[in-house]
Amino acid sequence: MGFLGQLFVMAISAILVQNFVLSRFLGLCPYLGVSKKLDSAFGMGMAVIFVMTLASAFCYLIFQYLLVPYGLEYLQTLAFILTIAALVQFVEMVIQKNSPALYKSLGVYLPLITTNCAVLGVAILNITPLADGSRYNFIWSVLNGFLSGVGFTFVLLAMAGIRERLELVDMPKSMRGMPSGLILAGIMALAFYGFMGMKI
């Protein structure tokens, strides 16, 4: 399989089959919290794609060239969370300085991303051995981070679109808000289960 073929397989798997939110249960807090309005969901999604791609790159480099040579793999959790926190802070400062317009649309979501478990999750998954014992190299780690972020944004936007309409529906008071959002997520997860049968 050529590069493009592998890329296609990875895209389908990260966005549909092994979706971060609906089948891996990662990043649920922003998924349920920021999905009430379509434009804020869009801002959050873009910020997550951005940070997940960068975090994949930096965490991979730190693991490969700092932790492995010194035999410090057991410090990965600590090293990764610090990298991500520093990265988010740094990205926030750079964007604020260079692109005030972008900062205005992404700014509020950036600090929230430090505690988004999808970001730490993808960093750890990138360095976890695959089924055949090998690990992703640098390029694939970055691509995996990017595509998983796209998958997250995809379901976040779908959820926000449905919830905007759901606001107008007449339903029992105790079902409003979080309960209906969770049941909706369950139905979406059920729909995504249809992709599980795909053999690629």
Partner: protein, 196 residues
């Protein structure tokens, strides 16, 4: 507030999952069986109590501006301890919880209690708060896991509870079942609150 009331508030009145709605990812992902739920709950409780004690001890020397990074480092250190000791002594549980052990670091409950409680209270009350919140988290996880395991597998803590004619509803063990179970449980909690 006294020790006892700090201890009990986390269990029902301020339950981290059903009432404050924090820490959803581990709740949904590790509630496939009661034993997983108990393992996750205990691990999170240990980290919560230890980080509460530590953060409460250093609250006077922590500069306000960098307090969040300090909390994250403290929490990550305790999570690494749990991760390594679980891999050594309970390898089967460690394997089934997998990724969600290191992810305790970003569990909003722990950082949330550090910021909202341990940062402002003394060590004794912080211990009580940590135990109470940890037990509340474990209780909520166990309730969700009980429903999912009994309906989806016909067992509770690997003991058969349903008659042999019962056909297990596999869907409750899969991802969609997790969302739907928790959704209905929260609706039930809202309904009870409204009646009061």
């Amino acid at each position: 507030m006294s020790f006892i009331s700090e201890l009990t508030k986390g269990i029902i009145k301020e339950n981290p999952i059903f009432v404050i709605v924090l820490g959803m990812c581990p709740t949904l992902a590790t509630s496939t069986s009661v034993s997983n739920a108990l393992g996750m709950g205990m691990a999170a409780t240990f980290v919560l109590v230890c980080s509460n004690i530590f953060i409460s001890l250093i609250k006077n020397v922590t500069p306000d501006k960098i307090r969040i990074p300090v909390y994250v480092v403290v929490i990550a250190a305790f999570v690494s301890i749990v991760d390594m000791s679980m891999a050594a002594y309970l390898p089967a549980l460690h394997k089934s919880l997998g990724l969600f052990i290191p992810l305790i670091v970003v569990n909003c409950i722990i950082l949330g209690r550090a910021e909202a409680f341990a940062n402002k209270n003394n060590v004794i009350n912080s211990i009580a708060d940590g135990i109470g919140m940890g037990l509340g988290f474990t209780l909520a996880l166990t309730v969700v896991a009980t429903i999912r395991e009994v309906l989806g597998n016909g067992t509770w803590l690997n003991i058969k509870v349903m008659p042999s004619t019962y056909d297990p509803m596999l869907i409750t063990l899969l991802a969609p079942g997790a969302f739907i179970t928790l959704g209905f449980l929260m609706a039930l909690m809202n309904m009870i609150k409204e009646k009061k």
